[in-house]
């Protein structure tokens, strides 16, 4: 075999690294072109492509330096330093773009663009690039970074302490946005607060509008700590129960059929899941029935209950039945004629018994 020319690969790894350099130069260039002409999101691909390009450039340093870069860099080590710097910057850039595409504008921004404050995004970016810079100085250029690291650490502590409460709200907001116990438009009840519809979620608080059109502002930390009842998620259908009573003599099956018909004839009651009527047995002199039915939006539960009762009353009016109410019997018994002298005591005792029964 004759001697290979300078800068021409001669070996499997060298040929593969050449292919890698060509391919990832083209893909990096294409990522820039497509971010200009198609969509800015393609800048995310640029980071990954430059990482791969720099990895192949690192592998190829020993044969690319003499042929390609001897005039540009003083030594192969210097070339390696530059490539490593490029690699670390590309990693930082990919992290930054990945957070932007997948988190800030992705998961957190999907429903509401305002959910992440620009300040948080900016500080995130500064931290990523600062960290990359420190690594490059320490490990690539061998410069001591203790003073710089201490300074930035101290700055971080000061910043953290002074903005502790606000930062707490922000992180609670991120936790809420990631775990999604509710979304904008859901009907919720947060802790002991009045129930209402979520109208806004931002980096500091959750805004809920109650039925009375009063707006409640619940801080993110409070919303994240308390129990949340969500009436709209995972699906909007919700079950309501109303109780109705009939006389004990009636056949429960006939009553159940009548009530199911009445529920089925109510427009806002969902056909699926089907409404059901359960017989709860005789109670306090009457038969008790629970009507269980689903509506598709908790916001309209008042209207739904109103409609259901109108329909039930209509159906009962067309039948032979009528609604009963709990009955209690009061029995007053007197055993023998009052004994003179003891009259006051007996009257007091009877009055006391009657009161307790009532």
């Amino acid at each position: 075999m004759s001697d290979p020319s300078l800068g021409v690969p001669n070996g499997l790894l060298e040929v593969i690294s050449l292919a890698g350099i060509i391919i990832f130069s083209i893909t990096s260039f294409s990522a820039v072109l497509s971010s200009i002409f198609v969509k800015k999101d393609n800048l995310f691909y640029l980071g990954t492509q430059v990482i791969l390009l720099s990895i192949f450039l690192r592998i190829a340093t020993h044969w690319t330096y003499p042929g390609w870069f001897a005039e540009l860099f003083a030594s192969a080590e210097q070339q390696m330093q530059m490539i490593t710097t490029l690699l670390l910057l590309a990693v930082a850039y990919t992290l930054d773009m990945g957070l932007k595409v997948m988190v800030w504008e992705g998961r957190l921004g999907r429903y509401d663009q305002k959910s992440v404050p620009p300040l948080l995004i900016a500080s995130g970016r500064v931290i990523i690039y600062l960290f990359a810079l420190l690594i490059i100085l320490q490990f690539v250029f061998d410069k001591p970074i203790t003073a710089l690291a201490a300074l930035s650490g101290a700055l971080a502590v000061i910043l953290g302490l002074s903005a502790q409460a606000t930062l707490g709200e922000i992180f609670a907001g991120i936790a809420l946005a990631l775990s999604r116990p509710f979304r904008i438009g859901d009907w919720v009840k947060i802790g002991n607060h009045e129930e209402g519809r979520v109208i806004d979620m931002n980096w500091r608080m959750v805004t809920v509008e109650t039925r009375d059109r009063v707006v409640l502002c619940v801080p993110n930390r409070s919303a994240a700590d308390q129990t949340v009842h969500n009436f709209s998620h995972p699906n909007r259908a919700i079950r309501l129960t109303e109780t109705v009573r009939f006389s004990q003599g009636e056949d429960p099956r006939v009553i159940q059929e009548l009530l199911v018909r009445a529920l089925a004839d109510t427009p806002c009651v969902l056909a699926d899941p089907r409404p059901a009527v359960f017989y709860r047995g005789p109670k306090e002199g009457v038969s008790e029935y629970n009507m269980e039915f689903y509506i598709d939006d908790y916001e309209h539960n008042d209207v739904a209950i109103d409609d259901v009762w109108k329909s039930v009353i209509d159906h009962i009016a067309r039948s032979d039945f009528e609604i009963s109410f709990p009955r209690r019997y009061l029995a007053i018994q007197s055993n023998r004629p009052p004994v003179p002298g003891a009259a006051d005591a007996t009257e007091t005792a009877a009055a006391g018994r009657a009161n307790s029964e009532r």
């Binding site: 021409v8 070996g11 593969i16």
Partner: protein, 490 residues
């Protein structure tokens, strides 16, 4: 626009088609792989001479990246537009009537010329088999005509028959490759792959230096060209929105593996890269070497015949659908869109494509007997393919930009960057081919045919039929160019 974008192509709202829905994932895979498999058997090896083993390896890896970008992008577009027009449908939606016509025409030329190039290898293999069995010589033109007649008839015979034959031939051709690989591993010697004379400025891995990589690119394309014919199966596929993308991606995965195995193993077996690079049948030459005299020439020719017939069969399928779609929409004479009453195949498009391909092969054979007919046809086909890739990738990028919310049941994970990469590599390959004087005849042929088609379109001023699915989809999504003549004069 957003309302129109939401229309998409839901599974239940599929347009009526005069073709029959039969194909599944593996039928599509078989059609794609069978179309490309002749490229693994021969044609690629000339790249060893131009670039050496290392140069051909680099060129192949670059081209693999181009085809990955192409296949992922086509998978996305074919799921959004599951119609038999392929490139025409995408060009039409992105760039109007002219875009559709130019992309569809480049695609037609690609498949017709590829089939004509492969029929020569089919003829050679048939001749060897017939001579081995009956010791008789048959004129090559007659063999070409027989090959065209047999495979056009199979294609007219129905989509089910076409898919089964494609699957059978693909499995046979892949089995031969597998046997080759098993036989080649013990005979592999890296120094044999590096036995080309080193020129000044080169190395044993890149004997002609860096520039050799560039000259190997068109041969590396031959490893994977026409895989995109899988997108033309959309109207004959059940659930095309999900099945076609799967078929394309399984196909390209199989072919990339096959191409790398063939490149590495076939270059490094006796008699070495120099002899393999100049061989007419590199794979069969390798077989001969390591199985010695135990395999007869007839059996080897049969191996080759299976692969070439597979490719020939799939290419005929492809131009049948492509010509049919353009004719159905009114861009080509309406007679070419006729489908068989019972078999539901576009028989007039198949017959017309076969006649044109046969005529092209015969014409070149007699007009330039001093040159390799198949080399000219291959160059023309590869150039047509590159032009159609450029137009299809431009369509992809334009649709991503203008209709970001269009219903896309499959979304390319490589995004616009993948399509742009394919576009950049295809553009570079096109420029490289224009610079190389030995490709002149093939490129001239392509330019003449393409020019004649454009002239036909300008003179005839066809008015597309807005009821065909490709046109209806494009009109529902865009307001680009309903009148080809006005658009052309802009």
């Amino acid at each position: 626009m957003s309302d129109a974008c939401a229309v998409g192509a839901p599974a239940t709202d599929r347009p009526a088609t005069s073709l029959r829905r039969f194909a599944g994932v593996w039928s599509i895979w078989a059609l794609g792989v069978s179309g490309v498999i002749p490229g693994e058997y021969s044609g690629w090896n000339y790249g060893l001479i131009t670039g050496g083993f290392g140069g051909m390896l680099v060129a192949t890896l670059v081209i693999v990246v181009m085809y990955l970008g192409l296949c992922f992008s086509l998978a996305e577009m074919s799921s959004a537009m599951p119609y038999s027009g392929g490139a025409y449908a995408y060009g039409r939606c992105a760039f109007g009537v002219w875009g559709g016509f130019l992309a569809g025409t480049a695609q037609n030329i690609e498949y017709i010329l590829s089939a004509a190039a492969v029929v020569i290898s089919v003829g050679d293999a048939m001749e060897l088999v017939i001579y081995g069995l009956f010791a008789a010589r048959v004129p090559e033109l007659l063999l070409w005509a027989i090959a065209y007649a047999i495979f056009t008839a199979i294609n007219i015979g129905g989509i089910a028959l076409t898919c089964r034959i494609a699957l059978l031939l693909t499995v046979l051709a892949l089995a031969v490759l597998a046997v080759f690989a098993v036989g080649a591993i013990p005979n592999f010697d890296l120094s044999l792959a590096l036995d080309l004379p080193v020129q000044p400025g080169g190395s044993p891995w890149l004997p002609n230096g860096m520039v050799g990589i560039a000259w190997s690119v068109p041969f590396a394309i031959w490893f994977l060209v026409v895989i995109e014919l899988t997108t033309l199966t959309a109207e004959e596929t059940k659930e095309p929105e999900t099945t076609v993308p799967k078929g394309i991606l399984y196909g390209i995965a199989t072919l990339v593996a096959a191409a790398l195995i063939v490149l590495v193993l076939n270059s490094g077996v006796p008699p070495g890269a120099r002899a393999i690079g100049n061989a007419q049948q590199p794979l069969l030459l390798g077989f001969e070497q390591f199985f010695g005299g135990r395999l007869s020439q007839t059996l080897l020719a049969l191996f080759g015949l299976a692969a070439y017939a597979a490719g020939f069969h799939a290419m005929i399928y492809a131009y049948g659908r492509s010509i049919f779609s353009l004719a159905r929409a009114g861009y080509l004479p309406a007679g070419l869109s006729a489908t068989h009453a019972t078999r539901k195949t576009p028989y007039s498009a198949l017959l017309a494509g076969s006649l044109l391909g046969f005529a092209a092969a015969v014409l070149i054979r007699y007009a330039r007997p001093d040159l390799h007919t198949d080399a000219i046809l291959v160059t023309g086909a590869v150039l047509a393919a590159i032009v159609s890739y450029i137009l299809q990738m431009l369509s992809f990028l334009a649709l991503r930009r203008r209709l970001p919310d269009m219903n896309r049941p499959y979304v390319s994970p490589l995004g616009a960057t993948g399509a742009m990469t394919t576009f950049v590599i295809a553009l570079a390959a096109c420029a490289l081919m224009l610079l190389e004087p030995s490709y002149r005849e093939g490129m001239l042929g392509f330019a003449i045919i393409f020019g004649l088609c454009v002239l036909y379109f300008v003179i005839r001023r066809p008015h597309p039929d807005v009821a065909v699915p490709e046109e209806a989809f494009a009109i529902a999504h865009t307001a680009v160019g309903h009148d080809p003549v006005d658009h052309g004069n802009e």
